[in-house]
Amino acid sequence: MKIIVNGRPREVTSASLEALLGELSFKNKSVATAVNGAFVPRTARATVVLREGDSLEVLVPMQGG
């Protein structure tokens, strides 16, 4: 299915967010996730299922002011 990951279209196969992060090579990183603008806690990733057209944000620590 096609979803949007960090603003770019991606073709993915995993259904759960947890599996998807592995598929996208984010598995072992310190990341926070949001689907369609709503925060998805780490503990909920296994149960959240993505659907065609969903928008996923995967954010990491960066420099800030």
Partner: protein, 256 residues
């Protein structure tokens, strides 16, 4: 200084963006003697490791982090960003920015109050980036904020304290609320002035990161903030219009 139950001795909070290198950032943090640095969350391509390297560097510095919601223009965006930051950085502290106007990066104070209320209810310790407006300050406190961070001037402008009267007035109205001048400072003298007004701390980034020698500037800001605080605690004299000789007049010889 006590911020949300945490005692801090250093009154300079430092941003971590725009330094020439991670090594210079680390050294600037060290010499400034800050205990709190600001950080953010951003996208990163899956193969990259920049975020992890940065987070590892920050953790090695032994300072507390204050994640921000920089760039957020809506309440929903700021709230989601704060929720994400709390999980990644492992702190309920959040520097809340809800930007209302792009040229000045002026806070959307209406959205700010609303986001502050939501985040406080969710257990966050909110550090709102606000203006010096007294009524907005009241609303932020009513929303649950226990610290206020009025701007000195728009972010990144190095203009110093645009409205010293407004900042002084805010200090006088809220004598017991920790007040931090956040943004707009360019020189250590401006930071010292904020401290001399009785502000509890200053938060800055660009003035250090974009200096020709960020490490030297970080040290200068650290010293200026400490000096400004000492001056405030020393109870400065009031200015006056007429001169008053400092050398005793009594006992002066008559020589002509």
């Amino acid at each position: 200084m006590n911020l949300y139950g945490v005692d801090l001795t250093a009154r300079l909070l430092l941003g971590t963006a725009q330094y020439p290198s991670p090594a210079i950032l680390a050294e600037a943090v060290r010499v400034s003697e800050t205990q709190v640095v600001t950080v953010c969350l951003r996208r990163e391509a899956a193969g990259e490791r920049q975020g992890e390297a940065f987070w590892s560097l920050i953790r090695s510095l032994g300072v507390r982090v204050l994640p921000n919601t920089a760039g957020c223009h809506s309440v929903a965006e700021a709230v989601t960003t704060a929720q994400m930051a709390r999980e990644v950085f492992g702190t309920p502290w959040i520097k809340l920015e809800v930007i209302g106007e792009n040229d000045t990066l002026c806070p959307d104070v209406f959205g700010l109050v609303e986001a502050a209320r939501i985040l406080t209810e969710e257990g966050f310790a909110v550090f709102p980036y606000t203006t010096e407006d007294l009524v907005v300050a009241e609303r932020l406190l009513a929303a649950g904020c226990r610290v206020l961070m009025p701007w000195g001037a728009p972010i990144g402008t190095a203009r110093g304290l645009n409205n010293p009267y407004g900042l002084r007035s805010l200090r006088a109205h809220f004598p017991d609320v920790p007040l931090i001048v956040d943004a707009g400072l360019g020189l250590p003298s401006q930071a010292a002035r904020a401290m001399e007004l009785g502000y509890d701390a200053v938060l800055l980034n660009t003035a250090v990161a974009k200096a020709g020698d960020p490490v030297a500037m970080a040290r200068a800001f650290g010293q200026a903030v400490a000096a400004g605080r000492q001056a405030y605690e020393a109870d400065p004299m009031e200015p006056r219009d007429m001169a008053a000789p400092s050398t005793p007049v009594l006992g002066k010889a008559v020589l002509g």
